[in-house]
């Protein structure tokens, strides 16, 4: 009597006997291909890519990370270099600005302000400067841009040299038609002795003036700044033009007034408009003056150099730390921008890959169902 177990064993034996076996020729060919390492039939594929695919993912992480760091470093260097060039060109306080002094160009106000600005004197200094020619020239060069410039220069000197350096400051200012707004000199021990000067220098000559001032003694720091005041200048100019048109219109009305009361009303309005026009003209003069005359602060210090603040003539540990921080900040910014660009792309690629993989799995399941 055959038991169920005997039947199962016999069925298993029959199934094993029905086991398909590969054709000897196919087996031999496959053996050869395996021994040869499955050479590619197509030569279109790059062997380097094949090798890359064979490398474990973990081994790819180190070179990939190195490449990412290298890309960030190169981008940081490029950006930092560009920033340095901008600061140098814009007169930003740095050591480079000493070797590339500003040209002193500035913009002037529009045509209506030119006559009024021709004698922009300073009551405090008791001097007058002819500005209209420079202003017109600057206006042409800078395409009607009005730029206000300022500079701060710190010189280091021995206490005994303060008086002599101060005299040279006056000479340099006068040589460039500048104005000494305020000055103060202190004598005494190192650290207490010194001098301070508030100057107005014609913007067209600012670069030359700063070069002369820098040559007086050791430069401990130098900072230059610019501010574009084109918008307020243009605005005031247009208001002034409108006011002039209004005055002309009122003058026409006054000529045509037939009654005394009508004439009085027009005259009152005319007086008010003329006051308004005078205020606008004063504003324009002030803007013109800010564009044509650069404010320069010169300080002569004695004592240790670190008292002069940041950005001294020598590059020290503080500067190194500051530069390192700046570089790290730029590197972080580059990394963030890179992630912002690559992140969505990688996410889309990942989603596409996952979708394709899920679809393939579903199709494989469906094949046998």
């Amino acid at each position: 009597m055959e038991t169920p177990r005997d039947r199962d064993d016999r069925l298993a034996e029959d199934l094993r006997a029905l086991r398909p076996t590969p054709h000897p020729q196919f087996a031999a060919e496959l053996d050869e291909r395996v021994a040869a390492g499955f050479p590619r039939r197509s030569r279109l594929r790059l062997p380097s890519f094949n090798r890359l695919r064979a490398v474990p993912t973990r081994r790819l992480l180190i070179p990939a990370g190195g490449l990412a760091v290298l890309a960030i470093a190169v981008s940081t260097a490029v950006i930092a270099t560009k920033d340095g060039e901008k600061e140098s060109a814009g007169g930003g306080g740095s050591l480079l600005s000493l070797t590339a002094p500003a040209s002193g160009d500035s913009a002037a106000a529009p045509e209506e302000a030119a006559p009024e600005a021709s004698s922009a004197g300073s009551a405090a200094a008791g001097a007058e400067i002819e500005l209209s020619e420079d202003s017109e020239a600057n206006l042409t060069r800078l395409d009607n841009r009005a730029v206000e410039r300022s500079a701060t220069l710190v010189l280091g000197a021995a206490p005994a040299d303060v008086a002599d350096d101060s005299a040279q400051v006056f000479e340099a200012v006068h040589a460039h038609n500048g104005i000494v707004m305020r000055s103060s000199t202190h004598e005494g021990e190192p650290g207490r002795a010194g001098a301070t000067f508030e100057l107005l220098i014609p913007s067209a000559k600012l670069g030359d003036a700063l070069a002369d001032l820098s040559a007086i003694d050791e430069v401990r720091s130098r900072h230059e700044a610019t501010a574009d005041i084109t918008a307020p200048t243009v605005n005031v100019t247009e208001l002034l033009r409108d006011s002039k048109a209004r005055v002309d219109s009122l003058l026409g009305q006054l000529a045509g007034a037939e009654t005394e009361s009508e004439r009085e009303a027009v005259e009152a309005e005319l007086a008010q408009e003329r006051r308004h026009r005078a205020r606008l003209r004063a504003q324009l003069q002030h803007l013109q003056r800010r564009a044509d005359l650069s404010r320069v602060l010169v300080r002569i210090e004695t004592g240790a150099a670190e008292e002069s603040g940041t950005g001294g003539g020598t590059w020290g540990v503080d500067d190194a730390i500051g530069d390192a921080g700046q570089i790290l900040a730029v590197a972080a910014a580059v990394a963030v921008v890179g992630l912002a660009i690559l992140g969505p792309i990688a996410l889309i690629a990942l989603l596409a890959w996952l979708t394709h993989r899920a679809w393939v799995r579903r199709e494989r399941r469906r094949v046998l169902s």
């Binding site: 199962d8 398909p20 076996t21 590969p22 087996a27 993912t57 199709e363």
Partner: protein, 178 residues
């Protein structure tokens, strides 16, 4: 049987190749038998078997021994290749061609055996493709239940249950033929 492909590949540059070579030599006929049992097409089985070994060779350094035996990993690749072939051709496992001439081979082995094996072969044809795949993995490829479970992505007890059901259906089909 090789326990790891990666570990040996780390030890020596050619160790991974040697491990793959041993895996190939021990599994070549089994893989072919499984694929042929699934596809029921000799030419397609040869093509898919070669493709499966090539895929495995290209991925040999990515094999993770913590996720299973190399043999189960290899049969997983072969299964995907076979299913891709079926999918590509737009047909299921029921194909007209036989993997080989079973009838002729059975006749050489005696009347009793030949009659019984013809009945088994016919019963096998009537099984659902997933059941036939289980039979192929177990008796053609010689996999253990744990390896079958790994290949199919199911639990071992589940694999045993399914296999038992498939065998029961096959036995009933054989009885029906008789």
């Amino acid at each position: 049987m090789e326990q790891t492909l990666v570990a040996e590949a780390k030890d020596a540059p050619r160790a991974g190749d040697l491990a793959f070579d041993r895996l190939y030599r021990s599994s070549r006929d089994d893989v072919y038998a499984y694929v042929a049992g699934l596809l029921r097409d000799e030419a397609a089985a040869e093509e898919v078997t070669a493709a499966a070994f090539e895929r495995a060779y290209r991925k040999r350094n990515r094999f993770d021994p913590e996720r299973g035996e190399p043999r189960a990993w290899l049969f997983g690749i072969a299964r995907n290749a076979a299913l891709d072939e079926l999918r590509r051709r737009g047909r299921q496992a029921e194909l007209t061609a036989e993997p080989e001439d079973v009838d002729a081979r059975a006749l050489d082995e005696g009347a009793e055996h030949s009659e019984r094996r013809l009945a088994v072969s016919a019963a096998l044809e009537r099984l659902e493709p997933p059941e036939r795949e289980l039979i192929a993995l177990k008796f053609f490829a010689g996999l253990e239940n744990s390896e079958i479970a790994r290949v199919l992505g199911i639990g071992e007890s589940n694999a045993g249950t399914r296999l038992h059901r498939a065998m029961t259906k096959l036995r009933e089909a054989c009885d029906g033929n008789a």
